[in-house]
């Protein structure tokens, strides 16, 4: 019975779902990192209007469930499902990354800015060559846990019918509906997510220990 569930065809079916999970995760994490860093730098820049705007974005987005962005982008825009999912995750995760970047920038002493300025660096030059490289080191652990959150939360997009890992699992569950099969399937899904995320967490701890 369990052999029937675990036949190569079904494992390949799940692997394709894991592929979709990783595409959404990596795509949205990459975009969120770019937008989030920009917003985080804006927020760090004092009381200028764009700092206020970035702050407003972060406050609003962080206090609304990601599921709402997933539904909203899917049903209120003409984007194809997978793109809509990446956009929704980018909207949400950008706010989280902006907070992490702001925290990272705050952790760098003012003296670093002053020293670099005395050496003739421009503000952007200081940011890119002096402050961000140091801040990045402090940002690795929270960024990694954000990445884990994204990977876990991609399971939300099954709600709009995208067949990522959880979705594929639920489809299989419709075909193999006995107690041992269902429990095996849940175990397999949990173990797959766990392997990916625990591996990431381990790796993040190793990186942190090295710096």
């Amino acid at each position: 019975m369990i052999e029937e569930l675990l036949q190569p065809k079904n494992l390949w079916f799940l692997a394709q779902g894991l592929g979709v999970t990783l595409i959404i995760s990596v795509g949205s994490l990459f975009l969120s990192f770019m937008f989030g860093t920009t917003l985080g730098v804006f927020r760090h820049s004092g009381s200028k209007p764009w700092a206020k705007a970035a702050g407003l974005y972060v406050e609003v987005v962080r206090n609304i469930p990601n599921l709402l962005f997933i539904l909203g982008v899917r049903f209120l825009t003409p984007l194809p499902p997978l793109v809509a999912a990446i956009v929704a995750f980018t909207i949400f995760t950008t706010a989280a990354v902006a907070e992490i970047v702001r925290g990272g920038l705050n952790s760098i002493p003012k003296g670093q800015w002053e020293a670099a300025r005395s050496q003739g660096f421009s503000s952007l030059g200081i940011l890119v060559h002096v402050v961000l490289p140091q801040a990045l080191r402090n940002m690795v652990p929270p960024l990694m846990s954000q990445a884990i959150t994204v990977i876990k939360d991609t399971s939300f997009v099954w709600v709009v019918g995208i067949e990522e890992l959880t979705g594929k699992g639920m489809i299989l569950m419709g075909m193999y509906a006995t107690l041992p099969q269902v429990f095996t399937l849940f175990g397999l899904l949990a173990a797959t997510y766990f392997a990916v995320n625990f591996g990431l967490a381990r790796w993040s701890r190793a990186v942190k220990a090295r710096t």
Binding site: V60, I64, P65, L67, L71, N106, S155, F156, W158, Y193
Partner: protein, 224 residues
């Protein structure tokens, strides 16, 4: 002509049928409060176990935290809702929400509590021991009270995450705010106002908590 997703008559319909949103909001609030209580209880127990010297206490705490922090809440909720009935255990959907969300966030609370305990200087424990406190009394009367300032901001942050995550109940027809808004919109296709109103209601629940955390963090930053 296509009236657009935010046409006025759709807003009027949403306002006229406000009890739909109110009922959902009530369920979300109820599940959030009960799940928060459960997560605090579990987090306190597993957090203390995780900070203990005995390996027999630390190991199960580690397993609990790692398992629930590294697997999706959706899988856990689906297991409670779709999986357990195969074993003859059918839980009401509200219980699925409270248990699922509570156990999941309990793992995060446990880590906060453990870190809070670790931040209390060892001398405090030694001093308590020298006064004749046993391990349990030391924990309850000396260590835990001192963790309050450290753990309260991250715990409140966790409460915000918890409230947002109760929306996963919508995926098992849980009757929460997200579910009611989405099924209302799926019925009449008035997605625009439904989602905006839902967003504002979640914002109303979460923003005060977030703002409080921000204020506390600023205060400690000034002190430090």
């Amino acid at each position: 002509m296509n009236p657009g997703p935010f046409a006025l008559f759709k807003w009027e319909a949403a306002v006229a049928e406000w009890p739909v949103f109110a009922i959902g909001l009530g369920t979300t609030a109820l599940v959030s409060v009960l799940a928060l209580v459960l997560s605090l209880a579990l987090g306190l127990a597993f957090g203390m176990a995780g900070a203990a010297k005995a390996k027999g206490l630390r190991a199960p705490a580690r397993v609990y935290v790692e398992f629930f922090q590294n697997t999706p809440l959706v899988i856990q909720i689906f297991f409670l809702y779709n999986g357990l009935p195969y074993a003859g255990l059918v839980l009401p959907v509200l219980a699925v929400g409270v248990l699922g969300v509570g156990i999941y966030h309990g793992a995060y609370v446990a880590e906060i509590v453990r870190a809070g305990i670790a931040a209390v200087p060892l001398g405090q424990k030694e001093a308590a021991a020298s006064q004749g406190f046993n391990a349990w009394q030391t924990m309850v009367h000396v260590v835990l009270p001192q963790t309050r300032k450290v753990v309260l901001p991250p715990l409140t942050n966790q409460a915000v995450f918890l409230i947002k995550n109760t929306s996963v109940l919508a995926m098992v027809a849980g009757g929460d705010l997200m579910y009611h808004a989405d099924s209302w919109a799926a019925g009449n296709l008035y997605y625009g106002p439904a989602y905006v109103i839902t967003g504002l209601l979640y914002l109303a629940l979460c923003l005060p908590l977030s703002r409080w955390v921000r204020k506390m963090e600023k205060r400690t930053a000034v002190l430090a």
